[in-house]
C-alpha cells in the first residue's frame, strides 16, 4: 500500500482561491482562526494583543508558523465598531472574552450625538488596521489576511444594548432603522480602510440569529443592511465575504445567500448535508465541527471523528467546502485538538475528495 503524502503542495492562499473558483486543489482547506492558543505559543498574553498592533500580528504569525493556521485575522470583531462610536468594553486580564459594560446610546436621542468613526483615530480600530498592515506585509503573499466585523444588527445591539434594541424593533422601528443605518455606515468606514490595506473581510452577525429574532424580523431589520455591507465589501475587496450567523439558521439560509455572501459559516446545530442541498449550488459551505463538545471538551480522536463526519456531508458541495468550526474556537480548547483538525484535513481531505476517505 502506497504511503499517502501529507505534504501540502499549495499555499493557503492558493488553496482557498482554488476552492472558491472551483479549480483543483491539493487538499481541503481548514479555516479555523486561532487567537488565544497562538498567544500561548508566542508567549504573549492575549489581553496584551487588544492594545497592540505588533503583538496582535506576532500572535497571528505564530498561529500560522507554529500551529499551521491557514488564515490570519485581526479586526473589530463583535464589539469593535460599537466601541469606536462610544460603547465601553471591558478587557479581562485572564482567560475570558472582552464584553461591553456600557452602551453608547442610553436614550434614543443619544444617537444624534454620535459620529461615524474615523478608523485611524477612534476606539481600537487603528490597532486592528496596524495589525492588518503588518500581516499583509509579512504573510500576505501566501496566507489570506482577513478582518472580522460584526453585522450591522449585532453592532446596533452593541451600541444600544441588546434588550433595549430588541424591544425597539416593536416600539420604535423607525429609530431601529436609523440605528442600523448608522451601524452600517460606521462599519463601512472601517471596511474601506481594511480593504485599502489588502485585507479580506468576514462578517459575523450573532444577534441576528433565529435563536433571538424571527425570520420575519431578520428580513425587515437585519437583511437590508447585511446585503448592503456584503455588496460594499465585495466592491472594495474583490471578494464576497463569508457570513456567520449562530444557531439554527435553516429558515434564513436563502436570505443569507441573497445578501451576496460567498461563504456561509454554519453552526454545529446545522446538518451540512441539508445546507448543501438547499444552498450548495450558490455558496461555499464552511463548518461545522463542534466548538464546545469536540474542540473544547473532546479529545484529538473526537476531533478526527467530527471532521470526518463534516467532510462526509460537505465534501461534494457544488460550490466547494472548507473544513472549520461551527462557531469561534473556544479559548480553552487544547492545542492538540487544533492540530488534530489540521491533521484531519491533510489526512482525509486529499483532492479529489472521495467519500471512502472519511467514512
Amino acid at each position: 500500500m502506497a504511503v499517502l503524502s501529507l505534504r501540502d503542495e499549495m499555499t493557503p492562499k492558493e488553496r482557498l482561491e482554488a476552492v472558491l473558483k472551483g479549480r483543483p486543489y491539493d487538499r481541503v482547506p481548514c479555516g479555523v482562526v486561532i487567537h488565544n492558543q497562538a498567544g500561548k505559543v508566542a508567549g504573549i498574553p492575549h489581553w496584551e494583543c487588544y492594545f497592540s498592533s505588533e503583538k496582535t500580528a506576532q500572535t497571528q504569525i505564530a498561529a500560522h508558523n507554529i500551529l499551521g493556521a491557514e488564515a490570519v485575522a485581526a479586526g473589530p470583531g463583535l464589539p469593535g465598531i460599537a466601541e469606536a462610536v462610544g460603547s465601553i468594553v471591558y478587557y479581562p486580564k485572564e482567560e475570558n472574552t472582552p464584553y461591553i459594560t456600557e452602551v453608547a446610546v442610553k436614550q434614543p436621542a443619544d444617537l444624534d450625538k454620535l459620529k461615524i468613526p474615523n478608523p485611524w483615530l477612534d476606539g481600537r480600530l487603528p490597532i486592528h488596521l496596524g495589525a492588518l498592515q503588518i500581516l499583509v506585509d509579512r504573510l500576505g503573499d501566501s496566507v489570506p489576511v482577513t478582518s472580522n466585523v460584526a453585522g450591522p444588527f449585532t453592532t446596533a445591539a452593541n451600541i444600544r444594548g441588546t434588550e433595549a434594541f430588541l424591544r425597539e424593533l416593536y416600539r420604535n422601528p423607525e429609530f431601529a432603522h436609523r440605528l442600523l443605518q448608522f451601524s452600517l455606515e460606521s462599519t463601512i468606514a472601517y471596511v474601506k480602510e481594511a480593504a485599502k490595506l489588502g485585507a479580506k473581510v468576514s462578517i459575523a452577525d450573532p444577534t441576528a440569529s433565529p435563536t433571538l429574532i424571527s425570520p420575519k424580523q431578520f428580513r425587515e431589520f437585519a437583511f437590508p443592511y447585511l446585503q448592503k455591507l456584503t455588496t460594499t465589501i465585495k466592491d472594495l475587496t474583490g471578494s464576497a465575504p463569508s457570513l456567520h450567523i449562530c444557531g439554527n439558521t435553516t429558515k434564513i439560509w436563502q436570505d443569507m445567500v441573497a445578501t451576496g455572501a460567498g461563504i456561509l459559516s454554519l453552526d454545529d446545530t446545522i446538518d451540512l448535508a441539508a445546507a448543501k442541498k438547499a444552498v450548495g449550488e450558490q455558496v461555499t459551505l464552511f463548518g461545522n465541527v463542534k466548538p464546545t463538545a469536540t474542540m473544547y471538551l473532546g479529545t484529538p480522536k473526537d476531533v478526527r471523528q467530527d471532521a470526518k463526519e463534516c467532510l462526509a456531508k460537505g465534501y461534494d458541495n457544488p460550490k466547494g467546502y472548507i473544513l472549520s468550526l461551527g462557531c469561534g474556537l473556544p479559548m480553552g480548547a487544547p492545542v492538540e485538538n487544533i492540530q488534530a483538525l489540521f491533521q484531519a484535513a491533510r489526512e482525509f481531505g486529499r483532492y479529489p475528495l472521495r467519500l471512502s476517505n472519511f467514512s
Binding site: 479581562p92 485572564e94 482567560e95 475570558n96 472574552t97 464584553y99 461591553i100 459594560t101 441588546t162 434588550e163 430588541l166 424591544r167 424593533l169 416593536y170 416600539r171 433565529p210 435563536t211 433571538l212 429574532i213 424571527s214 424580523q217 449562530c246 466548538p291 464546545t292 463538545a293 473544547y296 471538551l297 473556544p330 479559548m331 480553552g332
Partner: protein
C-alpha cells in the same frame, strides 16, 4: 357577572399574548373596578397569557423580542393588580424559591431574564442575582433564602467551568443534597450537565419551567 369575569380574564390573557401593554393596563383597571379578585386575575389572566407566550416561543412562533413585549404587558398589568392583592387567610402558602444568575465573567443575561420571567409567572419566587456572579455567591444566597433550586446560565465556553465550580463547592461544603442545580446557555448541554453533576439542563426558557416543576415535585 361570572360570564363577564371569565371574558375579562380571557381578554387579559390575550392582551399579554398580543403584546398589548395599554390593553393589559386598561383591562386590569376594569378588573379592579369590577371587584374581581386580583390574585385570580394574575393567575388566570396575566400568567395564563404568559404561558401561551412561552408555548409560542417553544414552537418558534414567537422569538425573544415578542417574549420581551409580552412580559412588558404582563408586568404593566401586574403593577395595577398587585396593590389589590388581599392577604391570604390563614397560613400563607410559601412559594418555592429559586436563585438565578449568570456565572462570573459573563454578562449575557437575555436568556436568564426570560427564564426568570417564565418561572415567576409559573408561581416561583425568584431571587435574581444578575450577571457576573461568583459561584460562592449563588450558594450563600441559596442558603440565606432557603431556596430549592440554583439556576445558572452562561453563553460562553470561557466561563462554563464556573457552573461546575458551584457544584464542587456544594459538595465540598457537604450541602449538595440541599439544592437542585439547573443549568442553561448556548455552550452547555445535557452531556455537560451530566459530566458536572447538575440536576438538569434546560435547552430554553420554556423547558426551564417544566424542569423546575419536575425538580420540585410539581410544587411551585
Amino acid at each position: 357577572m361570572a360570564n363577564n369575569k371569565e371574558e375579562l380574564l380571557k381578554q387579559l390573557a390575550d392582551a399579554v399574548v398580543d403584546m398589548d401593554e395599554e390593553k393589559a393596563v386598561e383591562l386590569s383597571q376594569i378588573i379592579v373596578a369590577e371587584g374581581i379578585d386580583a390574585y385570580e386575575a394574575i393567575e388566570k389572566g396575566l400568567s395564563a397569557g404568559m404561558e401561551v407566550a412561552g408555548r409560542l416561543f417553544e414552537e418558534e412562533e414567537y422569538f425573544i423580542p415578542e417574549l420581551l413585549m409580552c412580559s412588558d404587558a404582563m408586568y404593566a398589568g401586574l403593577s395595577v393588580l398587585k396593590p389589590h392583592l388581599k392577604a391570604k387567610e390563614g397560613a400563607a402558602e410559601e412559594k418555592v424559591k429559586i436563585v438565578i444568575g449568570v456565572i462570573e465573567g459573563d454578562t449575557h443575561d437575555i436568556g436568564k431574564n426570560l427564564v426568570k420571567i417564565l418561572l415567576e409567572t409559573s408561581g416561583y419566587e425568584i431571587i435574581d442575582l444578575g450577571r457576573d456572579i461568583s459561584p460562592q455567591k449563588f450558594i450563600d444566597t441559596a442558603k440565606e433564602q432557603d431556596a430549592k433550586i440554583i439556576a445558572i446560565s452562561t453563553l460562553m465556553t470561557t466561563t462554563m467551568d464556573g457552573l461546575a465550580e458551584v457544584i464542587r463547592l456544594l459538595q465540598q461544603q457537604d450541602i449538595r443534597e440541599q439544592f437542585k442545580v439547573m443549568i442553561g446557555g448556548a455552550p452547555v448541554s445535557q452531556a455537560f450537565a451530566d459530566k458536572i453533576g447538575a440536576d438538569s439542563y434546560a435547552v430554553n426558557a420554556a423547558t426551564a419551567v417544566r424542569l423546575a416543576r419536575q425538580l420540585t415535585g410539581g410544587a411551585a
